[in-house]
Subunit: 423 residues, 2 copies
């Protein structure tokens, strides 16, 4: 192997880590799943416990993937909005403030009756175009960009002087209440307060205009006629500021990287990091995703790139749904994808990492800050005594305990693509 | 469990961690002690190795508890004096410099014959009042506040312009020598040198005045008549500057906290952090302490607070005394307190941590920087394969290796009282 040949593949089950599940005899969903391929990776490789940010700190998919790609989230994270916007193709400039948005349904009393407008499947492009038209002149001298994403999701970008991202969500995160007024966030630095107040005012005006435009839009007239909840409101949340990230390849000594992920938020991070974000037909981001299509795409990308990151969303869904069996099936999807990669890649010059971006225990239904199990296999990996993949087994792993930011350093070390520090 | 219900209890055996003891067949005092409750916590929960500050760094009870409460001691620690002063009820203002003090006995040749004045039990309030009277006009324009604590302990606060805490101890930490002259410390920054020189001069003048006032004070006349060593000198040490700590509850998203500890130093930190510092009758801080009274007080506080920290001092005393059997008995006191808590608290919404603020091995007789064993149990804790509580067993713990500052993050994560970083 020469220095320039080593390749790295990182396969993540989104939210795959868990906690003891009483109905599974105290096992976690990983431990209860049938995972011959994941166990092979652990048995023939080396394991670790990984805290993405710091022990106990729950993280999002965005901050977790930042850490895994080598961008310290404590240093670089400025909210999810910019990644969402990038994920749907809204480009940003320094100073822009971006929001993730939901199309939602509000009733005649202005109460939110469905935060996702019945997970609206079509017509949001027309709704977004109407909103853009209504904001053509901008608001208070600030340019407005709004674009739909999949289902009820969308993104909003504000561009102009004197904006700040320390503002609260319009989305109240519950139903049967009115939408919330955007206002400066509690953590807003005093010197940013005037800008945050201005930003909040613009956001509130945007929400009112959007509601006016959407209420009687033909798309919604049709939906109501069909008995479907109209997408008659837009709820911005997750304000964030455009960040500047050094391109992945320059950050990692020329490593050419690609990303195959099912979440727009993480795809947006990929754009920011100048990774090639690849599309895979059949990768739905749902529990029905075609994991074999993803596996084939990873194997194909592996031929052309030095680094391939793959994230399969399904395990996280089972966690959020409090559904052990759904999550077990999702873990087994990850296992089948890994089995294909074990059969297909050449591990004489490739190091594989199996892991997760966070835990989403079915007993909690949300992200937790517990350690996720990690297993490394292939080129350069010093084997250890662990022979299964799972939370408990990984505690004895030969790689020890690592943070998210350590993962790529270790992988580059395994394949000999990292410079010596010192002489 | 709703987000606002989760509770956290942290039980610390002061200095409870240790090293191999040859006379115990190489076991540590924790390993040699009979600890069914601590073992239960480890068996039904998850273990970790914890370095309070960084691996190998010995810490004091003050810096250790700062870390455990979420105040990075490397950032915030400015000496123990302020905590001692707060612990005895001397309030401080920014710029004040505080010292821990001992009442001591010096002979006619000005040699210290007893650094603790026979652990004087009464009359120090009168001695302190006499010293305050002698310093009523201040020294060099600086106000002087002096107050007695338990036994031979006291605190001194200087308030005025141009002070600095980078000064050495008057207490020579040995006997049969004169008291030391206070002077700028070796680590004094050059720009602070004039202030440190002025501070040292004031301290030295204070010590002389105190000696003059105490020498023939009626309390000491009586002591001499009774054959007891007079408390005729005051030895300041541990200079520190007032620190500003964000209140515990604001630092930890509204967690209402209480502290049940036997050491004034740590109580003082509790006041600084705006924790409720609770008194327990029978908590002596000695080897005779009533651990069941402490346990009952913790269980009572658990009803009213979200977070309760409890520190039982006894194990540290056995360590400092090089006495394995005394330390084993002290560890067993901690075990009995924990047994009561296991029987009494509702762990469906409570996470318990057992640990120590540092090691005080009986083979050393002082604090060391070895890892302490930690065990978590209850709400949200993912179990591991460790089944006993102890230094060696904890190395296989499922929580891995943590620092003191991680402990509360993990506990908040277990009970679901921490915000996600990212989305």
């Amino acid at each position: 192997m020469t220095h320039s040949e080593g390749k790295i593949v990182m396969v993540l089950g989104d939210g795959m880590g868990g906690r003891d599940v009483p109905s599974l005899g105290g096992r976690t969903t990983i431990e209860a799943a049938h995972t011959p391929a994941l166990d092979t990776v652990a048995r023939l490789g080396a394991s670790a416990l990984m805290y993405l940010a710091r022990p106990g700190q729950p993280v999002g998919s965005d901050t977790a993937h930042m850490a895994l790609l080598g961008y310290d989230p404590f240093q670089y994270y400025r909210g999810r909005g910019p990644f969402e916007a990038a994920g749907v193709g809204l480009s940003m400039q320094p100073g822009d403030v971006a929001f993730r948005c939901n199309f939602a349904t509000v009733d005649e009393k202005d109460l939110i009756t469905d935060r996702r407008a019945g997970r609206i499947k079509s017509g949001t492009d027309q709704l977004a175009a109407a909103i853009m038209e209504a904001c053509r002149e901008g608001i208070e001298g600030v340019q407005v960009f709004f674009k739909e994403s999949v289902e009820h999701r969308a993104a909003l970008v504000l561009r102009g002087e004197g904006l700040d991202y320390h503002v609260t969500d319009v989305d109240p995160h519950e139903e049967n209440v009115p939408w919330a007024q955007c206002q400066p966030a509690l953590n807003c630095p005093p010197e940013a307060l005037p800008r945050a107040e201005r930003t909040a005012r613009i956001v509130n005006e945007f929400v009112v205009r959007a509601h006016e435009v959407l209420e009687n839009h033909p798309v919604n007239v049709s939906r109501k006629a069909e008995g479907q909840p109209p997408a008659n409101a837009v709820l911005p949340r997750g304000a964030g500021e455009a960040v500047e990230l050094a391109p992945f390849s320059s950050r990692h000594d020329g490593l050419r990287g690609a990303m195959i992920v099912e979440v727009d938020l993480v795809r947006g991070l990929g754009y920011y990091a100048a990774l090639d974000v690849l599309d895979v037909e059949g990768a739905t981001g749902g529990r029905d995703t075609d994991e074999m299509a993803i596996a084939r795409a990873v194997a194909e990308a592996w031929k052309n790139y030095d680094f391939v990151l793959c994230n399969i969303k399904a395990p996280d869904l089972g966690g959020h749904d409090h559904d052990p069996h759904q999550k077990i099936q999702a873990v087994e999807k990850v296992d089948r994808a890994v089995a294909y990669l074990l059969d297909t890649l050449d591990f004489s010059h490739t190091a594989l990492m199996i892991g997760a971006d966070h835990c989403t225990p079915v007993t909690v239904g949300d992200h937790t800050g517990d350690a996720v199990p990690v297993a490394f296999y292939g080129c350069g990996v010093r084997t250890d005594l662990v022979d299964t993949y799972g939370e408990r087994a990984a505690a004895a792993g030969g790689v020890g305990q690592i943070s998210g930011g350590d993962a790529l350093v270790l992988l580059r070390n395994f394949v000999g693509r990292i410079s010596k520090f010192g002489a």
